[in-house]
């Protein structure tokens, strides 16, 4: 059972959506609507976080998430500093904990962390007096991506409750899938995970934590009932690791191609967290179809991150 927002009157960290109640998610999405309005103005800035210092701590390459947080922080008038693992003290062997203590001493109020190791944000949170926002940790979680996905679904379909979301592809390695599982199930959506068995694992691994989730290895059996199809990036290393016979076979069985696009109907949303491998998990036709909302997801990401920053520090 999710802790209710009354138990946590003020949220300190956002590490995963597992401790967000549906009420709190609703509130953030509603705040994000106002933020989106701010972003549509000519002067895209409000003074909500003036004087606050946010550090973008990126231990993994990222373009869109880092820039999205940067724009969100600036739109709220916060100071934001970028820190990337390359060329920093990390290369000299400084531990994550030491780095966090240093940032603390420098006066950071919020740390936004992207890290290749699952659970790293919890370690940061233990050694940092301010707030920690997870911008993606290993295969574990990417809560702001899930929030922006929820926002996009709500905006386009009017609601999340009862919507059938098909998450498609490399589920087992995906932090986006896991955070969306928390967020979508908490908001009352129906979720189906679909992908090759090697990239999904046994269904019981998932249903133990998310009992209402459905697992399928056959896209064409579940595609027609979907209201949203969320395709995940397929990393080409998966084939080299022996998890897939070939990219050709993957694309044939699980790719969002023009034939499947035609079967989906025009109201079904096509989503992708990016970056896309066009021609592998999604065809260019599907990515640019009128019902594809991939660019809107990116736009909404800034508004949702503003809403979250505001909730933690406003």
């Amino acid at each position: 059972m999710a802790p209710s927002s009354t138990e946590h009157p003020r949220r300190r960290h956002a590490i995963d959506l597992d401790d967000f109640s549906s009420t709190e998610i609703e509130e953030i999405l509603t705040t994000a609507e106002s933020m989106k309005e701010v972003l549509s103005r000519e002067i895209k800035q409000v003074p909500a976080l003036r004087g606050r210092t946010i550090v973008n701590m990126f231990y993994e390459d990222s373009t869109r998430t880092r820039i999205s947080f940067e724009l969100a922080a600036r739109a709220l008038s916060a100071n934001i500093v970028n820190f990337s693992a390359r060329g920093s003290s990390v290369e000299k062997g400084e531990s994550l904990v030491d780095t966090v203590r240093t940032l603390q001493a420098l006066g950071a109020d919020i740390v936004v962390i992207r890290h290749s190791q699952a659970g790293a944000p919890y370690l940061v949170a233990r050694h940092f007096r301010g707030s920690v926002i997870n911008a993606g940790d290993g295969r574990h979680a990417h809560p702001t991506q899930a929030l922006l996905d929820l926002f996009t679904i709500r905006e386009r379909l009017g609601q999340i409750h009862g919507v059938h979301v098909l998450i498609l592809g490399d589920i087992i390695h995906s932090r986006v899938a896991r955070s969306n599982l928390w967020g979508l199930t908490r908001m009352g959506a129906r979720v189906t995970l679909c992908g090759p068995a090697t990239l999904l694992g046994p269904p019981a691994y998932w249903t133990a934590t998310w009992p209402e989730v459905r697992v399928s290895y056959h896209l064409d059996e579940v595609l027609s009932s979907a209201d949203v199809v969320m395709a995940l990036r397929l990393q080409k290393e998966r084939q080299q690791a022996g998890l897939l016979p070939s990219l050709r076979e993957y694309t044939r069985l699980y790719g969002l191609n023009p034939e499947r696009l035609a079967r989906l109907g025009e109201r079904v949303l096509i989503m992708h967290p990016g970056p896309m491998n066009e021609g592998v998990e999604i065809s260019p036709e599907a990515a640019t179809a009128p019902n594809a909302v991939i660019e809107e997801q990116v736009t909404n990401g800034v508004a949702v991150r503003m809403a979250l920053l505001y909730r933690l520090a406003g």
């Binding site: 994550l96 699952a118 370690l123 233990r126 019981a204 998932w206 133990a208």
Partner: protein, 481 residues
Amino acid sequence: MRYLIRNGSIIDPTQRVATVGDVLVTDGKVERLFEIADRAAEQHMVGDDVEIIDARGAVVAPGFTDLHAYLRQPGEEHKETIASGTLAAAHGGFTTVCAMPTVYPTHDTAATVRLVQELARREGHVHVDVVGALTVGREGRALADLAELAEAGCIAFSDGDRALSDSALMRHALTYAAALGLPVMSLGQEARLSAGWAMHEGAVSTRLGLPGFPAAAEEALIARDIALAELTGAHLHICQVSTAGGVSLIRAARARGVRVTADVSPHHLTLTDRWVLGSLAAHDPPPPPQSRPGRKRSPHPELGLPSWFDATRLPPYDPSTRVCPPLRTEEDLEALAEGLRDGTIDAIATGHSPQSRVEKECEYGLAAPGISGLETALALVLSLVHRGEMDLVDLVARLTEGPAQVLDRSPATLRPGARADIVIFDPDATWTVDATRFVSRGQNTPLHGQRLKGQVLLTMAGGRIVFRRDRAGTPEAAPAP
């Protein structure tokens, strides 16, 4: 020096004794056991020159033998030394510790073996046996000079925390060791199946997004090693079995006469992969019941539910829960307890793996595996007795007689004339684990702050008191010099 240990509940599996009485120790040896009825004879034999040790309400048993401990010296003295590790052993009731070859340089020459033996003689608090390296540098490429190591006094061969991948070399190692009359100790970890692992593969690793070490990776290697033991007739010892499947494989092999023995650690008997969730487990529904029907488990409300210890005290992804093999599931725990009960698993071995803060205060997947286990071992395994899952005499046997049988030596015993390796413990004393007060240099334990039941009061090694706790006061006592 003479000691009279009075009024203890004497448990000696070798004599099938469980009685209240006294133990007289003279000049480093057990002189005699007295039952209450023998008091007259006792007064006659014992003069005034004897120190009385009051063991009322406590258990008096032969000292424990640990088949699997990492003492880290030479090479990693910031984690542990032979002095600190054997003192931790004394605090845990162990009077013999087998030092694994995960040291630098490793035990692959008589010279390093003698160095360890010499350090143990000069600085050790309890007896140390040396496990020789199986391959040169523990690299898995060429056999170490096993005969030389045997002559130097090694009691078994192992590459420590590394499994030997090369099956042909493992066959040769078993054949060669058999001719020397010594066991090969193997840890069940198939390298490719467990590559990049952070924890047990299952529902919890899936939720946390951590790469898994599937049970099959252990079972595959155990199955291979059993087949090779069958082929060679050698004595194979499986270290730190952690899976239900592993227990089944060992049980079936023993039933058809394969010479395979096994040990299990206290943490694999009592903690599950849900400990990696830490506080995240607090909001979770309880795991589905997997108990077999008819199994008795008396809940102990004083220590909390659902299990005995409270995993939710830990933060999520606490590296203190990272250990090799990883903590498994409730189902595995039950199979391990069953294996320990029916004798499929001969011994409890701590797998004591002290690590420094540097190796543990980091991201979960980058943390060095290991639990500093000597000082909490007894209390953890006593939980099986308190839950009604195991008989106390059988449990003591798995800490004394069992490991001795694995090493093919006469077990620690309280028979007259035996070396006075004795432990006195209170099975019902509750205490709170404070890792900062461990005498081991490794404070890496997931049990910090947990309340445990069962505490060592006194440890005697070779007739010398190497650890003693003040029963009346706080659980601290000055270590023996």
